[in-house]
Assembly symmetry: C2
Homo-oligomer: 205 residues x 2
DNA sequence: AGCATAACCGAACACGATGTTCGGAAGAGA
DNA sequence: TCTCTTCCGAACATCGTGTTCGGTTATGCT
């Protein structure tokens, strides 16, 4: 299994990505990191994360073994670094979206699908598990303000998992619908459930 | 990333559990299998699947190395055999439940939570990923009969992932609510979403 | 109870992957 | 140009895996 860097199965560590402080302004450093990340992503989409060996990443990236371990503690750390960029991107876009109207708790969905569509290869590799935490906390914070009839954690868990699942299906199926259509359909399923979980004072919308 | 023997990340094999035909009526065979399964489940809950080594399972179960490989191809196979029993159980109970009324497509939920509650240690170990396929196909078949406004696959994926996610949360949180309460809350969230996804001809209920 | 046999055992092995160490080469920035 | 950081390959120790072997025990059957 994956491994679960920050996932749902046990060991959950904040987990800094790089091992030492190699000057990030040196062109060689940037080059090495980029090559390694690209190689890992490519190999994951071919064989799946578990089947990829460090040596294969090295060969594909044409980077020395010693160099790899100078940059990353192990394969997990490299993988996390790939995801870090993605995560930062998505968080920025979600934040930039600003507060959505309180009677539309489902509006971040569109941003998420757009982002996934724009970063297809990485999403393909990333697997669904990592997205969960991000969506979960986003949703929970989003719902926290509203008086809730059901525990907020459960509602957030329900729809975060649902979105991650559909997102994974979408990626695996090769993006059969456009991101707008996917977002619309998910909104149609999310909204009634969320509304039902909140108190009726907002339900009139 | 979790692991995923039959999960969402890539390698998905039907995957027969035992390697050779060791007579299942021999007491020694049953004993060995049981000891190995129990040891694995216990160790997974302690360290997580990835961190468990075959040698540790051997020591815990007090079973010889050679014997292990006479029974199971590798650690994954042993794990799958644990899950097989669970899966068979759940499938039997779901089937015994019979067809639920067509305007209540969410009724298997109670059975699932009861089952999880009754098999706490195994569910703790199993991780959410394996349940997904089972729930997905159950839901898809369940919905197939109804005229649907949204693609059935997407609706099934959405709510299957949601249920698996909440189930995992419930297990990780140590079963803070009873299975009936959990089932009721999930039903309240599932029903409106499913209803919204179906054509209005059944919506009146 | 006695026998044939199937299941068990430990020790040893080959293999593959991991992560580290070393001295030296080469590229970067100033 | 000069210095310092980064990169390199080769070799190494370590660990986990899955297999082979000859010998020991337990089981099912008569």
């Amino acid at each position: 299994m994956l491994i679960r860097v920050n996932g749902r199965s046990g060991v959950s560590v904040p987990y800094r990505t790089e091992v030492a402080t190699l000057a990030g302004n040196d062109r060689r450093v940037r080059r090495t990191r980029r090559l390694l990340q690209q190689a890992l992503v490519a190999l994951i989409t071919e064989r799946g994360y578990e089947r990829v060996t460090v040596q294969e990443v090295l060969d594909r990236a044409d980077v020395g073994r010693t160099t790899f371990y100078a940059h990353f503690r192990d394969k997990d750390a490299l993988f996390a670094s790939c995801f870090d960029d993605l995560r930062a991107d998505l968080e920025r876009e979600l934040a930039a979206m600003g507060g959505s109207p309180p009677d539309d708790p489902a509006s971040p969905i569109g941003v998420i699908f757009e982002h996934a569509h724009r970063n297809q290869p990485v999403y393909r590799a990333v697997g669904a598990a990592h997205l969960h935490d991000l969506l979960f906390s986003a949703l929970r914070d989003h719902l926290a303000g509203h008086g809730a009839r059901l525990p907020v954690e459960i509602v957030a868990e329900y729809h975060a998992s649902a979105l991650v699942g559909v997102l994974g299906w979408w990626v695996r199926a090769g993006f059969p619908h456009g991101p707008e259509a996917m977002a619309r359909m998910c909104r149609e399923m999310t909204q009634p459930g969320v509304m039902a979980a909140l108190t009726e004072i907002h339900a009139g919308g």
